[in-house]
């Protein structure tokens, strides 16, 4: 499992393909990827750009911790996370979560677990540029699965 934090744009498909090239051939039966991208609106405001702050060292440690938990809770082969920091423009990918497993249920569950708990624990902070000026985002939008039952379905 691996985490890459980077301040330059990335292509999620190429990143997934490159990581997969080092995995054993023919062992996985499914890959689930989640790609989070930047919206040009938030909380009723137009957003022209965003700056992502993070805590080097702690960020990687906590994302890897969430990935290891997901691997304990479900039967996955591998997982890879890429997360942007620095200046980001609308429509650019912010985060990639890719999970390889023998069967789809494990891949779906682990991918959702990783993105949900990454958002809850990994120390990143978004500062948006809007027509009214720059503002720190106070909270993320929640996944109803986390709101409703606290944990993604199979891990409840």
């Amino acid at each position: 499992m691996k985490v890459d934090i980077q301040d330059v744009p990335f292509d999620p498909c190429a990143a997934t393909r490159d990581y997969e090239s080092a995995l054993p051939k023919g062992k996985h039966g499914g890959i689930v990827t989640f790609v989070g991208t930047m919206r040009d609106f938030n909380d009723g405001h137009d957003v022209s750009s965003m700056f992502l702050d993070h805590y080097p060292g702690m960020t990687e440690r906590h994302i890897l911790g969430v990935m290891e938990e997901a691997a304990r809770l479900s039967n996955i082969m591998d997982a890879y996370v890429v997360h942007r920091v620095g200046d980001i423009k609308p429509s650019e990918p912010i985060v990639l979560v890719a999970v390889w497993a023998a069967h789809r249920a494990d891949a779906f569950d682990a991918c959702r677990y990783i993105i949900n708990y990454l958002k809850e624990r990994a120390p990143f902070w978004k500062r948006e540029t809007t027509p009214q000026g720059k503002r720190w985002v106070e909270h993320n939008t929640a996944d109803p699965a986390v709101e409703a039952i606290g944990r993604p379905t199979r891990f409840a």
Binding site: Y55, M58, R121, W136, N140
Partner: protein, 77 residues
């Protein structure tokens, strides 16, 4: 004892700096008391605390050489 303090996001703006090293008398102190000492205020309610990059709370005890971070709720992903 000497403690490294780091501030992130809106907390960095509020404190006007990204980090600080403070030298304190004694060998240990709670995070809440450390905050009072450096800011003269009580800790804002939504502040998250990490000691040596692990989440904790104001009751945690800080020792010589520790790194203590104060920051607002996280918004990655």
């Amino acid at each position: 004892m000497s403690v490294k303090i780091r501030y992130f996001a809106s907390m960095r703006d509020r404190m006007g700096k990204a980090e600080d090293t403070v030298v304190l008398e004694g060998g240990s102190m709670t995070v809440a008391n450390l905050w009072k000492k450096i800011s003269g205020q009580s800790l804002p309610s939504n502040t998250l605390i990490a000691v040596n990059m692990e989440y904790t709370d104001g009751s945690a005890v800080v020792k010589n050489g520790d790194e203590v971070a104060f920051f607002p709720p996280v918004t990655g992903g």
